[in-house]
């Protein structure tokens, strides 16, 4: 097969060259795709905000807030239609999903109620936990919907735990996690926005 001889020098040189070219090629492609990747993420975020607060036209300055029980941050996006504050989109999360992390964009309107939500990231079971995208905003069964409610007017826990929201059939864990994320969003909203009504309303 007439390969190069496997001397130590040759081996080191070959490995070095291969790795060098590999790193160079990767650096190049990374540079090329960096901006597109950023844009794709921002686009997904904008689309999510649009779904939860349909009247929004542009965003005010984002606040990043520390979540109480972990090191992650919650992002709060004040949303405006012209000069009018329309509500707040809160990017919340939970780590208690059946398969771990779930990220949700929740919309809180001017009356302090949830106006909508969009599940951004999850690895829950398809056909079971993944139903959360539609389940909790059902227009037919208000006992499972979170729309128009908030954790102060209704207990945001599954009925099994004494709460006011009906869990997804056979997906209690995902349901609990979902409500955990919404509670976290509401806490962040209450503690950081409502208190600063002076500066928040602009």
């Amino acid at each position: 097969m007439a390969n190069r001889e496997s001397s130590f020098k040759n081996m080191v040189i070959t490995l070095f060259m291969v790795t060098f070219f590999a790193a160079a090629a990767l650096g190049f492609v990374y540079d090329m795709t960096k901006d597109a990747i950023e844009m794709a993420k921002l686009k997904a975020q904008s689309e999510a905000i649009e779904k939860v607060l349909p009247e929004f036209e542009e965003l005010g300055e984002t606040y990043k807030v520390a979540a109480e029980s972990s090191e992650d941050t919650i992002e709060i996006f004040p949303a405006y239609d012209g000069d009018q504050l329309v509500g707040y989109a809160v990017k919340t999360f939970t780590n208690n999903g059946f398969s771990g992390y779930i990220s949700i964009m929740a919309g809180i309107n001017q009356s302090g109620n949830f106006s909508g939500y969009e599940v951004l990231e999850h690895t829950e079971t398809p056909g079971l936990g993944s139903k959360m995208n539609e389940w909790f905003r059902s227009t037919q069964k208000s006992s499972q919907s979170v729309i128009g409610k908030n954790p102060e007017s209704h207990r945001f826990e599954v009925s099994k735990d004494g709460g006011d929201i009906d869990a997804i059939t056979a997906s209690t864990i995902t349901s609990r996690a979902f409500l955990d994320a919404l509670n976290r969003a509401y806490d962040a909203y209450k503690n950081n926005v409502v208190e600063n009504t002076g500066s928040a309303g602009q």
Partner: protein, 190 residues
């Protein structure tokens, strides 16, 4: 995060082979006999834990520190390949008998998706080093559990009257599916 939850989760609820589909090649290839299954599990466990530690350190102190996160795949697989080489060399010196017994399976650990998978998952789940090590050990146990259970089943299957078309891999896969169904029963546990 609660250590017990990590352990139960990795071994039963999200079993690496039966639920996450990682490590299938050795699962199907090595599980024909109980003794090889156990040997393979030991080797995998060792590499998995070491790999998780080293990749964690590399991710946090080199890749993230210099904004090189996109080199994760290359860096991790090189770490794993080197560790396997290292294990081979050490085993040859320390226990030639075990080295012989494992034979071809040792270099194959490099392409075991379970090891790279666990290394990446540790970073994705944002575990710290201690949680990462516990996660790796638990996954190795889960891997071993699935392998040993399956080897037991296959040794029995060999003695049964399986229809000709299903003999060998097909019936093994169907049996694995039923085993996976059994493991689904653990879902409510954590």
């Amino acid at each position: 995060m609660n250590y017990l939850v990590i352990v139960i989760g990795a071994i039963f609820v999200n079993n690496i082979v039966l639920m996450q589909f990682l490590g299938i090649c050795p699962f199907l290839g090595v599980s024909k006999r109980l003794s090889t299954a156990i040997g393979m599990t030991g080797a995998v466990a060792f590499v998995m834990v070491l790999a998780t530690i080293v990749t964690y350190l590399i991710q946090n102190y080199i890749l993230d520190a210099f904004g090189l996160a996109f080199l994760q795949t290359i860096a991790f697989i090189l770490v794993i390949a080197s560790l396997v080489q290292l294990v081979e060399i050490i085993l040859k010196k320390v226990s030639p008998a075990l080295y012989q017994a494992l034979g071809i399976f040792l270099p194959l650990i490099t392409t075991n998706c379970a090891i790279l998978g666990v290394a990446i998952l540790t970073i994705q789940k944002d575990f710290n080093l201690v949680e990462g090590v516990i996660f790796a050990i638990a996954n190795a146990v889960g891997f071993g559990l699935a392998l040993v259970l399956f080897a037991g089943i296959r040794e029995h299957l060999d003695l049964q009257n399986v229809p000709k078309g299903l003999k060998g891999t097909p019936i093994a896969l169907i049996a694995a599916g039923i085993l996976a169904m059994a493991f689904m029963g653990f879902s409510g546990l954590v």
